[in-house]
């Protein structure tokens, strides 16, 4: 009776047993512009219901306590008729897609983050006091992400920029393979602060298919670690200004000394063509 098993085996993946806002209101305390949410045992929809409720009630700084793997924190905050951006402090481990489609708000994570930080993020800022998983900043098109430690695979994949909107990703540690794949715009800075002396960055296929934007690398990479669509360049004065600004911000977030980081050698990776695959077709 496979059929009846299937019939009764289907459960709502995430929405089964979701409690209403009224049942959860005790988890939320609002004090003027500040709010606190106890996220223990809540599912992601419940947390975002509470965050949205707090935001609509006028809270501008929301602290989430006991977060443990819940996804999409901050995603449901597209509030075009609401003035002012919201700052969310997350203790301590948010789940996947933190700040996905983020609409200009600020998220500070006091702990590690998982996969998909800032997925297709539109604007705002995410600061992670720890490490982050795979596809950090995937398809990000605006705002800034600062990760104190290392990130996983495919970070900065398909980041893109247009007009004045340039996304920025700064990573304190190192990254895994396919770093900056398909990048079409934006500024990515990989600092390698946790590499041992003489240790190279771990990623292979860095910047494969890259056709826009720029990656700044501190620390060593071998030529075979790079995609064939990128070229290695020395910094010019403009690059130094960019680094000064964003490494400075990074250092302020994590109480580090920007000058000593900037003293080391950086190289710049740029795509060799805006059209890496322009010649493969017969018309």
């Amino acid at each position: 009776m496979a059929v009846s098993c299937a019939r009764y085996g289907l459960r709502e993946m995430f929405l089964g047993g979701v409690r209403s806002l009224d049942e959860l209101r005790s988890r939320l305390s609002i004090d003027g512009q500040g709010a606190e949410i106890d996220a223990r045992d809540l599912v992601h929809k419940e947390i975002n219901d509470l965050i949205r409720e707090a935001a609509l009630s006028g809270a501008r700084k929301i602290t989430l306590l006991n977060v443990c793997g819940q996804r999409y924190i901050g995603t449901r905050l597209f509030l075009p008729h609401q003035d002012g951006k919201i700052e969310i402090h997350v203790y301590s481990t948010p789940g996947n897609d933190l700040g996905a489609f983020l609409a200009g708000h600020r998220i500070v994570v006091h702990g590690n983050a998982q996969d998909g930080v800032g997925n297709t993020m539109d604007d705002g800022e995410i600061v992670v006091h720890g490490r982050a998983g795979d596809i950090v900043a995937m398809a990000m098109r605006g705002g800034k992400i600062f990760i104190r430690d290392s990130v996983g695979y495919r970070a900065a994949i398909h980041m893109k920029e247009y007009t004045g909107k340039v996304p920025v990703l700064v990573i304190g540690g190192t990254a895994q393979d396919f770093f900056g794949e398909y990048m079409a715009g934006g500024i990515v800075i990989l600092l390698g602060l946790n590499l041992k002396p003489g240790e190279r960055h771990h990623a292979h296929y860095v910047g494969t298919g890259m056709h826009g934007g720029v990656i700044y690398l501190r620390g060593e990479v071998a030529p075979h670690q790079l995609g064939k669509e990128v070229g290695v360049l020395e910094l010019d004065e403009n690059d130094r200004q960019v680094l000064h600004q964003y490494v400075g911000e990074f250092a302020r977030h994590f109480n580090l000394n920007a000058e000593s980081i900037l003293d080391d050698r950086f190289v710049k990776l740029k795509p060799v063509s805006k059209r890496p695959y322009g010649r493969i077709y017969a018309y």
């Binding site: 059929v3 299937a6 019939r7 289907l10 709502e12 993946m13 995430f14 992601h44 929809k45 975002n48 949205r52 996804r71 999409y72 995603t75 449901r76 597209f78 075009p80 996947n96 897609d97 996905a100 489609f101 609409a103 996969d115 998909g116 997925n119 297709t120 539109d122 596809i135 995937m138 398809a139 098109r141 495919r154 994949i157 398909h158 893109k160 920029e161 247009y162 007009t163 909107k165 794949e181 398909y182 079409a184 715009g185 298919g209 056709h211 826009g212 805006k274 059209r275 890496p276 695959y277 322009g278 010649r279 493969i280 077709y281 017969a282 018309y283």
Partner: protein, 504 residues
């Protein structure tokens, strides 16, 4: 390199009719026609002719004929003219052969092997001109049970309902992005959808900001692997959000809008710099499994405050029924399936012509599988690819679709002649081009009227056929295979379709 290719079309000009008005010269973007001022004569070079028939239609004296070039190699059932030409083209360029629109190979078209039922004696037929006939369709997830509360005169629904979007006819315009098609063509689709009360699909090229307020409620917005033009306002302006996993014309591969087509306004809508290639990766890199798909479905539901149905569009491939089941279980409210004959603005010919399965088989298999698993009501099914007429629509619904997407049919209504040269960006009809000289040929007021006429005509025909079957609401036909019979099909085909042979 000297080209060995034969011309594809022959251009014939009747000199007794030609008045040398040079309309053909102006209308042809490929430079076929040419006026020689010294000789006061019109000349034609047929080698660049794509057979789009623009010059023929616009010639005021009907002096032109364009037809497939009679020059051919020795006839050979295996090594056809097309195979030889493609082979020579690749020998000359070393490239991947591109093509446009849908698969034109003679795979069996199951629509043409299915016939519909009509009432005779035992069940009265209905006349839709004088009796109510319901085509309105609600797209989205339906509840398992419906609980109502009666309080005096008031009846209210107490079950939790998922968002549903009504359409006045089960015909939607399929995904065609601004960039692939011209702004004028894109707006025409939006205007027609709004006027008729149905939906158009933005494809993955974004929705221009100035259109969001006016047309958003008739838009299905896509979130595809390139994430072009996706921002929170875009998602929230739409009626439906669709995750594009695959496309019938090119299952398994990504998209590639060449940099020369990424002009200022397209760049702004896609949110990328001007002149860069718009590369859509083959997979969505945040989706490597059904679980990951679920993650994106719920990310989109979160981003739109659970107010909009989320659709997942896949190409029809092997095991499509199991895939669709996974998609529904992952939380999708709509499953869109695009079959073997689905169109495209550009795809490698090898893939367009050889990858995927026919929509009729895929649709029937998915509908049956979801029913067997007791989850058919949890999603709406939209079938796409090669829907050419109202009879195809009604057969699709009888095979289990809630609605169909039409792409090629809508383009043909606007002027397209399926010349398959969409990828050249030189569409003489102003549809699949960004050249302002060509795009201004398409007047959205007129083109949208053609589309509305098409929807009206088809809807009327659907009502007539429904009435003939004695059915007065389209939803009574959905998945109702008793109203279909197969003609000229083999046993296994009837089994997959779930249809009896004619006479049974």
């Amino acid at each position: 390199m000297f080209s060995h290719l034969l011309p594809e079309f022959l251009v014939e000009r009747r000199s007794d009719r030609c008045i040398k008005c040079r309309v053909c010269e102006r209308q042809c973007p490929n430079g076929v026609h040419h006026y020689d001022t010294e000789l006061d004569l019109m000349f034609s070079d047929e080698s660049p002719c794509v057979g789009c028939q623009r010059c023929v239609v616009f010639c005021p004296t009907n002096a032109l004929s364009v037809y497939p070039h009679p020059t051919t190699y020795r006839p050979n059932a295996s090594w056809t003219r097309e195979k030889l030409q493609d082979l020579k083209k690749q020998a000359e360029t070393g490239g991947v052969i591109l093509t446009g629109s849908g698969n034109d190979k003679p795979y069996r078209i199951y629509w043409d092997h299915l016939v519909l039922n009509a009432s005779q004696v035992t069940n009265p037929s209905i006349d839709p001109l004088r009796e109510p006939m319901e085509l309105r369709t609600y797209l989205g997830r339906k509840p398992d049970t419906l609980e109502v509360e009666v309080c005096g005169d008031k009846v209210s629904i107490t079950s939790r309902l998922s968002p549903n979007v009504p359409v006045e006819t089960p015909i939607l315009f399929s995904a065609m992005s601004y960039g692939a098609i011209s702004y004028q063509a894109f707006v025409s689709l939006a205007m027609a959808a709004k006027e008729f009360g149905t939906l158009f699909n933005t494809g993955e090229g974004g929705l221009p900001r100035e259109m969001r307020e006016k047309f958003g409620q008739n838009a299905i917005v896509q979130c595809a692997s390139g994430r072009f033009g996706v921002d929170p306002e875009y998602l929230n302006s739409a009626a439906v959000v669709e995750i594009k996993i695959g496309q019938g014309a090119k299952p398994g591969i990504g998209g590639h809008l060449p940099g020369e087509k990424v002009a200022a306004n397209i760049a702004l809508t896609r949110m990328i710099p001007e002149g860069t290639d718009a590369l859509s990766p083959a997979p969505q890199h945040d989706i490597y499994s059904i679980e990951d798909l679920s993650m994106l479905i719920y990310a989109l539901k979160e981003a739109t405050n659970y107010e909009k149905p989320v659709s997942v569009k896949i190409a029809a491939v092997h095991n499509v029924a199991a895939i669709a089941s996974g998609i529904v279980r992952a939380g999708a409210d709509i499953v869109a399936i695009d079959g073997l004959r689905g169109g495209t603005g550009a795809a490698p010919k090898a893939i367009r012509d050889n990858v995927g399965i026919p929509i009729e088989l895929a649709l029937a298999a998915v509908d049956r599988r979801l029913r067997e698993e007791g989850i058919r009501h949890k999603c709406s099914i939209i079938a796409a690819s090669g829907v050419r007429c109202s009879a195809d629509v009604i057969k699709a619904i009888a095979l289990g679709a809630d609605a169909v997407y039409i792409g090629s049919a809508a383009l043909v209504a606007m002027g397209c002649t399926l010349c398959q040269k969409c990828y050249t960006g030189k569409c003489a009809w102003g549809i699949c081009t960004q050249d302002p000289y060509l795009t201004r040929r398409l007047n959205p007021e007129i083109a949208s009227q053609r589309l509305v006429n098409l929807l009206r005509g088809w809807s009327h025909e659907i009502k007539e056929m429904l009435g003939g079957m004695g059915i007065n609401a389209i939803e009574s036909l959905r998945g109702n295979r008793e109203h279909l019979r197969g003609v000229g099909l083999e046993g296994w085909e009837l089994d997959v379709l779930g249809v009896k042979g004619a006479g049974e």
